[in-house]
Structure formats: structure tokens, C-alpha cells
């Protein structure tokens, strides 16, 4: 009995530590985003004079006349990088999922391109991304894709494709081939069998893989930093508030908060699919 209670207490403590560990930076970020310039470096969680200045600075830097005026020349309203990031991440996700699905289908049903090659594609994720920076910059310069959001989207699609393939292959492997064969025998074409039988069943897997890829594209900084100049995505924009002139901690916190809202909203909208996706293998037993 005592052991049981003790075990529960220990579990509670561990969980509490974990929660504090994860939540504190987020709380700090929220608090910081509402603090005035003078308060940024004070160690209190509750802002004394809550202000929306940081957010105004974020969305319309031109309208600011206060202390921030020195920075406004270099900053654009955050809505533009936000839209760019949405376009980049969404495009990358759609491309990676579409190509990834068909590659995974081929790998699962026809063992194409062979398990070695398929495993080999993971290699790009095993090396530090910095290794690829130089060749990619050369490619992008040659292709005139520098500072082009479609270029970034293509790059993200290419680098995350291997995840899409591996995640979706697991889902397709779990679908008995008999379902497709039954569809064929009832008069469906192979493509109809894929679209009406396989895709509806792997949809949760596509959602999981899609969210994963979206988040990776959303938060990617290194390549975005190197490959863009004026057309920066959100991740780069967030980093821009720390400048040579000085660090706008409060504005950066507000930017980070805005930046984390989109993935949260998406996650909320698709949570039903997420649960099915994460438990797919388990349900079928």
C-alpha cells in the first residue's frame, strides 16, 4: 500500500518537473511579449505595465514612434513572412506527401526501388544539414532560386520526402492487398483502387506525416537564412529582432508566439486524424 502511494508520489513529482520544464519557457515568452522595453530584463513573470507595443511593432513597424524607431528601417510587418512561411510549408507538405505516397506505394507493393535504396534516402537525414549548405547554395544560384520562396518549398519537400515515404510505407504495408484486389475484381482500375480504397484508409497517416513535414518546414532556419535575402520566411524573421544595433527581446517573444500559433491551430483542427494516425497499427491488432 505504502509502496503504491510512494510510487504515485514519485510519478507526480517527475511529471510536475517535466511540465515546469516545458511550460516555463513558453510562459516566459508570453510574459515577455507583453512587457515594456524597460522591463525586458527584469526577472518577473507578471508584466508590471502590460503593453501591446511589441505586437504593434510586429505588425506595423512603421507606425511606431517610440524607442523602437531606430529599428524600423530593417523590419517589415510580420504578416509578410507569415504568409511566405505558410506558402512554403504548405507547398512543401503537399509536394512531399503526394510524391511520398506514390513512392511509398511502389515500395510497399512492388518493392520498388528496393529496400537498400529506400534506406539510403534516409542518409540525407543522418548527416548534419550544414554539410549540404555549400552545394545547395551553388545549385540554387545556378538555378536562380536564391531568395525565392518556391525554391525553399522545393528544398523542404526534397529533404522531408524521405520521412513521408517511411511513414506512409508503414501505413500502406498495414493495408491487406486483398482490399485492392477486391476493388480490381469489381471493375475498378488500379488508380481507382488507390484513390478509393488505399488513400481513404491511409488518410490519417498522411495527416500525421503532413503535420510532421509542415512543422519541420515551418521551423527550419539554417537553409532559410542562407538562401533568402529579402523574401525571408517567418523563422528568419523571428531571428531578425536581435540585430547589430540591439536586441528587441519583447518583440522577438511576440514574434515567436505568433509563429507558434499556426502549428497549434493546425494541430487542433486535425486532432481527430492525429489520434487515428498515431494509433493506426494498434487498432487493427
Amino acid at each position: 500500500m505504502i509502496r503504491k502511494i510512494l510510487a504515485k508520489v514519485v510519478i507526480c513529482i517527475v511529471l510536475a518537473v517535466a511540465v515546469v520544464w516545458t511550460i516555463t519557457p513558453v510562459m516566459w515568452m508570453i510574459s515577455l511579449s507583453f512587457k515594456t522595453y524597460g522591463e525586458w530584463r527584469t526577472p518577473s513573470l507578471i508584466p508590471h505595465n502590460p503593453t501591446l507595443d511589441n505586437y504593434i511593432m510586429l505588425f506595423s513597424p512603421q507606425s511606431i514612434t517610440t524607442i523602437f524607431i531606430a529599428y524600423t528601417a530593417v523590419l517589415e510587418p510580420i504578416t509578410r513572412p507569415l504568409i511566405r512561411s505558410l506558402i512554403i510549408s504548405a507547398t512543401a507538405t503537399v509536394i512531399a506527401i503526394i510524391i511520398g505516397f506514390f513512392t511509398a506505394y511502389g515500395a510497399s507493393r512492388y518493392n520498388s526501388p528496393g529496400s537498400f535504396t529506400l534506406f539510403f534516402t534516409l542518409l540525407t537525414r543522418m548527416l548534419p544539414p550544414a554539410v549540404f549548405v555549400t552545394p545547395i547554395v551553388i545549385y540554387f544560384t545556378t538555378l536562380a532560386l536564391i531568395d525565392n520562396i518556391i525554391g525553399l518549398a522545393l528544398l523542404y519537400a526534397a529533404t522531408t520526402l524521405t520521412y513521408a515515404v517511411w511513414i506512409l510505407k508503414g501505413f500502406i504495408d498495414a493495408i491487406p492487398i486483398e482490399w485492392e484486389e477486391a476493388a480490381l475484381l469489381e471493375g475498378a482500375s488500379p488508380l481507382q483502387a488507390i484513390f478509393k480504397v488505399v488513400i481513404p484508409i491511409v488518410r490519417p497517416g498522411m495527416v500525421v506525416a503532413g503535420l510532421f513535414i509542415f512543422l519541420m518546414s515551418w521551423t527550419e532556419l539554417l537553409f532559410a537564412l542562407v538562401l533568402t535575402n529579402l523574401n525571408v520566411p517567418l523563422s528568419v524573421q523571428v531571428s531578425k529582432y536581435v540585430t547589430a544595433v540591439g536586441a528587441l527581446w519583447g518583440v522577438q517573444a511576440a514574434a515567436a508566439l505568433v509563429s507558434s500559433i499556426i502549428p497549434l491551430v493546425i494541430g487542433y483542427l486535425i486532432q481527430r486524424h492525429l489520434i487515428t494516425g498515431f494509433t493506426f497499427g494498434l487498432v487493427r491488432g
Binding site: 491487406p176 486483398e178 482490399w179 484486389e181 477486391a182 476493388a183 480490381l184 475484381l185 469489381e186 471493375g187 475498378a188 482500375s189 481507382q192 478509393k196 480504397v197 481513404p200 484508409i201
Partner: protein, 369 residues
């Protein structure tokens, strides 16, 4: 019966690597017939079915459906439907959508689809389940949906690959009767693959027994049961299985005798058939079904009852005759006890004589009056 050909296989062979799954198989199935492919697992019966359906392409040989060579035709153009052993129902659709699937991909108008789905649902007693999601149904209902999905596209041929194997025994029997009823009602040609000899005997108009990729006998269930072509079929079909005694056929004082290593058994008091005469001196295995022998007070050979089993409405007596053990059926009301000494009589008309070295059937019935 209408003897129009529905399917014909001509010297069909299929290899998977070094394994010959189907070896030079030829047979035909007639329209409106329920034809079974019976055999132990791995004998090539499922592959044969998949070749007919078009899901598998034969390495050699031709497949004809209603007289047309379909060997090169893809599965979806053959108008052949297959009910699988499991995974029959699309889990993301309800029963109605499942049945509708084949009609929808053919882009039939909505009203027509609805009419056909409802007709088939009625036939298979699925009307109450139309809104159920596929994955929520029990196995037997899933198989019904699978059959419905096939029937709704009005195939020339309905193939069933052990559809009842996973259904529990009680329901299986009901489903068998229902399947037969539907087959009679619609006159659909069906090919039924099973490893369950009882199922094949109960359902089929005709059946083929397969082993190691080859067809070893084709016939009506009665023919297969009464006149098995070799010892394998004799053992495989019928339950309890056929009894076998090994020995040499000899003639003593005008009587036909089976001489085993330790005793002699008089098979017949006289030899009238010249066919038997030709076999004298050969090493044979004689076979008889448990129902073709009787335990009598006076008989030809003595044995001891080792075990009395009660199966349904009869008793199976396991009788030890020297080294051999045979099973003999007896009425349930008889009072035999274990350890009792009895005499066994085998009906000479229903004796099967097999060649010892290859198990092939030599003769059925030695005549005796």
C-alpha cells in the same frame, strides 16, 4: 443440366521461383455449377483461383471464360469476382457503400445503383446492416457483404477462397446452406476453394482434388467419395478416414486372401472377377471405409477393441488386429466395451485395392456372392 462451359483451364502452369505452384492443370467448369477445388494447404488451389480471376498470370497454358481466351485480360475486365478468406470488407465504408462500390466505379446512375444494392442486400439478408461501418461487422456478416459486393456486379463467375474458414463452426454450417441457396436461386457459376473435405462434399456439384499443384481427380462428390483415385484422396476425403491394410493378394482353396505379415484375411469366398485374378501375388494396400465394415460375432478376422468413441449419433470402434488398427462404425445403441474381443467383416463389394508402391487405385470391390 446445361453443359455450357463457363471456365476452361488448359495446361495451366504457374511457378514462383523454383516452386511450381500449379502444375499443368486442366479442367472445365460448366455454367450454373458449384465446383470445388479441394486440397491440403499449399496444394495450389488458391493460386489456381487467382489465375482464373486474373490476379495472377499463368506461366504456361490458357484460361477461357465462356469460350473466350482471357489469359491476357486484366482482372477487372474479366467480370469475375473473388471472395477472400479475410479482409473482405472495406473498413472505411458502410455496408451500403461497400456493396455499391463495384457499381460506382462503373459509373452507373444513382437510381440503378440503389435498386441493385437493395436487391442484393435483401437476398443476403443484409438490409438491417446497410448503415453499419464495414469494420464493425462480425466475420460471417463481413463475408456476406463480400459476397453481396460480388453479386451486385453480376459476375460471370464467382470465386470463393475459403470464405468460411475463419467463421465459427456453428455459423459456418448455416452460411454453407445459404450459399447453396443463393447459388441455386441465381444460377451463378461458382468455384469454391476449400481444404475442408466435408464442405466440398456438401456444397459441390462437382469437385477436383488437388495435391502438389496437380489435379488428381475430378468428379461428383459421390464419385470422389466412393471411388477415390488413390490412397491420398481416400485418406483426405471422408471422416473418419479410410482404413488401410497392407499385404499380398493370394488364392487359397478358391478363396481370395489378403496375406499380411502376421495374419490372413479372407476377402472373398470366391473369385469371379478376372480383374482380381491379375492382381494375385502383387503387394497391395486394401482400403475400406469405417462404414463399410461391421463387427460381428462370427467373422473372418479377430481383433480387440481398443477405444470406443461416440461421435454424434454413432460409435467409432478402434479395433486392433494384430499390428494394424482399423476404425469401424457401429450403431450408438450397441454395447461394445474396450478390451472386448470381436470379429471384423469387411464388405467385399466396397473394398478398394491400391497398389502399394505408388498408392494408385487398382480395383474397387471384389465380387462375392
Amino acid at each position: 443440366m446445361n453443359r455450357q462451359e463457363a471456365v476452361k483451364l488448359e495446361n495451366v502452369t504457374k511457378r514462383f521461383g523454383n516452386v511450381v505452384a500449379v502444375n499443368n492443370v486442366s479442367f472445365e467448369v460448366y455454367k450454373g455449377e458449384l465446383f470445388s477445388l479441394l486440397g491440403p494447404s499449399g496444394c495450389g488451389k488458391t493460386t489456381t483461383l487467382r489465375i482464373i480471376s486474373g490476379l495472377e498470370r499463368p506461366d504456361e497454358g490458357r484460361v477461357y471464360i465462356e469460350g473466350t481466351d482471357v489469359t491476357e485480360l486484366p482482372a477487372r475486365e474479366r467480370r469475375v469476382c473473388l471472395v477472400f478468406q479475410e479482409y473482405a470488407v472495406f473498413p472505411h465504408m458502410n455496408v451500403y457503400e461497400n456493396i455499391e462500390f463495384g457499381l460506382k466505379v462503373k459509373m452507373l446512375p444513382r437510381a440503378e445503383r440503389d435498386k441493385k444494392v437493395k436487391e442484393v442486400a435483401e437476398l443476403l439478408e443484409l438490409v438491417d446492416y446497410l448503415n453499419y461501418k464495414g469494420g464493425r461487422l462480425g466475420l460471417s456478416d463481413q463475408q456476406k457483404v463480400a459476397i453481396a459486393r460480388c453479386l451486385v456486379v453480376e459476375p460471370k463467375l464467382l470465386l470463393l477462397d475459403e470464405p468460411l474458414t475463419l467463421v465459427d463452426a456453428r455459423v459456418r454450417e448455416r452460411m454453407r446452406r445459404e450459399l447453396k441457396r443463393i447459388q441455386r436461386e441465381l444460377g451463378t457459376t461458382m468455384i469454391y476453394v476449400t481444404h475442408d473435405q466435408l464442405e466440398a462434399l456438401m456444397l459441390s456439384d462437382r469437385m477436383a482434388v488437388m495435391r502438389n499443384g496437380k489435379i488428381i481427380q475430378i468428379g461428383t462428390p459421390e464419385e470422389i467419395y466412393d471411388n477415390p483415385a488413390d490412397m491420398f484422396i481416400a485418406t483426405f476425403v471422408g471422416s473418419p478416414a479410410m482404413n488401410f491394410l497392407e499385404g499380398v493378394l493370394e488364392v487359397e482353396e478358391g478363396m481370395l486372401i489378403l496375406k499380411t505379415s502376421s495374419y490372413k484375411y479372407v476377402l472373398s469366398k470366391s473369385i469371379e472377377s478376372s480383374a482380381v485374378q491379375n492382381l494375385i501375388g502383387t503387394e497391395v494396400v486394401i482400403g475400406f471405409r469405417p462404414e463399410d465394415a461391421e463387427v460381428r460375432h462370427s467373422g473372418e478376422v479377430e481383433g480387440v477393441i481398443k477405444l470406443v468413441e461416440i461421435v454424434e449419433d454413432r460409435k467409432i470402434l478402434h479395433i486392433k488386429i494384430n499390428e494394424d488398427e482399423v476404425k469401424v462404425l457401429a450403431d450408438i445403441f450397441t454395447s461394445f466395451t474396450e478390451g472386448q474381443k470381436v470379429k471384423v467383416w469387411i464388405n467385399p463389394l466396397r473394398l478398394h485395392i491400391f497398389e502399394k508402391k505408388n498408392g494408385k487405385k487398382l480395383l474397387k470391390g471384389v465380387v462375392s456372392r
